[in-house]
């Protein structure tokens, strides 16, 4: 007959063994990024292309840049350059906003919405255009291969359609942006833009 302390010892050993086994197995379990089916569906295009994201159509209208942007009266000075992307969202069947935005270059660098970067967009009802702005600070050497990615959900882009737009910038744009005046970020608007 096993005594009480043997039960305690056995339970403890079993617990430790399971903990060790679980920790070992955890390193072998595939994570979210290992599932190729979960990868975002990239819809690639260029400035001016209307990209269908199923829940909305996204069009990058304009790309601007400066070393200084101003929003809500505060000026932000970048040690690199601010790249400002103006884009239009038209929802397909229900109110939709673009809340995910990031920029990438060919060196594998990714600039998200952390820090001072911002994406200003509003929910747009189906058929009514929302005019939005994302601004991100990047080093000038990123401009020639810089792309913007836009999607519906900022937290999770798995299985979702994601617009990836080549911004078509060049090295010369870095000098142009450096000399540009402060860019005052407009608020997001709905409907036709005033001409």
């Amino acid at each position: 007959m096993a005594t009480r302390w043997q039960h305690v010892l056995g339970t403890g050993l079993l617990g430790l063994g399971l903990l060790a086994a679980g920790s070992w197995v955890q390193g072998w379990v595939p994570d979210d990024e290992d599932d190729p089916g979960a990868a975002p569906h990239l819809r690639r295009g260029a400035v001016g292309d209307a990209l269908d994201l199923r829940t909305a159509t996204v069009t990058v209208d304009e790309v601007l840049g400066s070393t200084r942007v101003e929003e809500f009266g505060s000026e932000l000075v970048s040690p690199g350059v601010w790249v400002v992307v103006r884009y239009t969202v038209v929802a397909s069947e229900e109110n939709t906003a673009i809340t995910f935005a990031e920029m990438r270059d060919d060196e594998g660098r990714v600039w998200g919405l952390e820090g001072r970067n911002s994406n200003d967009c509003v929910d747009s009802p189906p058929g009514l255009a929302a005019h939005c702005t994302v601004y991100v600070e990047v080093p000038p050497d990123a401009l020639p291969t810089l792309r913007v990615r836009l999607a519906r959900l900022s937290r999770d882009t798995r299985f979702d359609a994601v617009a990836e737009v080549d911004l078509g910038l060049t090295r010369a744009d870095a000098a142009t942006f450096a000399a540009a005046p402060t860019y005052v970020v407009p608020t997001a608007t709905l409907g036709d833009e005033p001409s």
Partner: protein, 212 residues
């Protein structure tokens, strides 16, 4: 004298149950700790002392601290009555390829200050750093790759606790999945370097707050 009967190992174990259990327990602990990687040192080289102005690799950042000063006003903001700012000037750069957020930035810097407060004037047990961009005074809530910022790292302390000399500890992080939600992030802050700085003293008098 009759020859001694050789005892079997099993009989020996049965004869000393507590000793057997203790040895088995120690063996299990050794195996489990080894399996979990618990013998690796968290800071292989330990925190080293570096001189002001020396760049430090504090993964994922490269940080340089130059000088420190105490002040009643920082970026146009007055310290609460009885409190003061200790401001450390330096340079910050992200060496990882993806942007990192606010908690990683502020988690990379601490100091040996006492009687500390948060930026809203509430007492804190540990010094809380606020990192602002020198060029415009904005709070650096995160940082992207390839950008090098001149920054000011600010701590709020009791006016009477402003030191003549300050030791700032820089901490490195490790990239791994969160144990809670599996999200990749920067965790496990460990000291990598200490920078001692003379603190320029407070002005003799506190400036009068500007009226509206």
């Amino acid at each position: 004298m009759p020859p001694r009967e050789p005892t079997s190992p099993v009989a020996t174990l049965r004869a000393h149950p507590w000793l057997t259990s203790a040895v088995a327990g120690v063996a299990v602990v050794l195996v489990v700790v080894t399996a979990l990687g618990g013998w690796a040192r968290s800071t292989p080289e330990g925190a080293v002392s570096v001189a002001a102005g020396t760049p430090v690799e504090a993964t994922p950042f490269r940080i340089r601290l130059d000088e420190a000063a105490a002040t009643f006003v920082h970026d146009g903001r007055d310290a609460e009555p009885g409190l003061a700012f200790v401001v450390v000037e330096g340079r910050l750069e992200l060496e990882a390829p993806e942007s990192v957020g606010f908690t990683t930035v502020t988690g990379a810097i601490t100091a040996d200050l006492t009687s500390t407060y948060d930026q809203f004037g509430s007492p804190t047990e540990e010094p809380e750093a606020e990192v602002t961009v020198t060029a415009d005074g904005s709070t650096l809530l995160g940082i992207g790759p390839g950008l090098v910022y001149d920054v000011q790292v600010t701590f709020v302390v009791d006016e009477a606790s402003v030191p003549e000399r300050l030791t700032v500890t820089l901490l490195q992080h490790a990239r791994r999945a969160s144990a809670l939600d599996g999200e990749l992030g920067w965790f496990d802050a460990t000291p990598v370097a200490r920078v001692a700085l003379d603190v320029a003293p407070l002005p003799a008098t506190r400036p009068e707050p500007e009226g509206f």
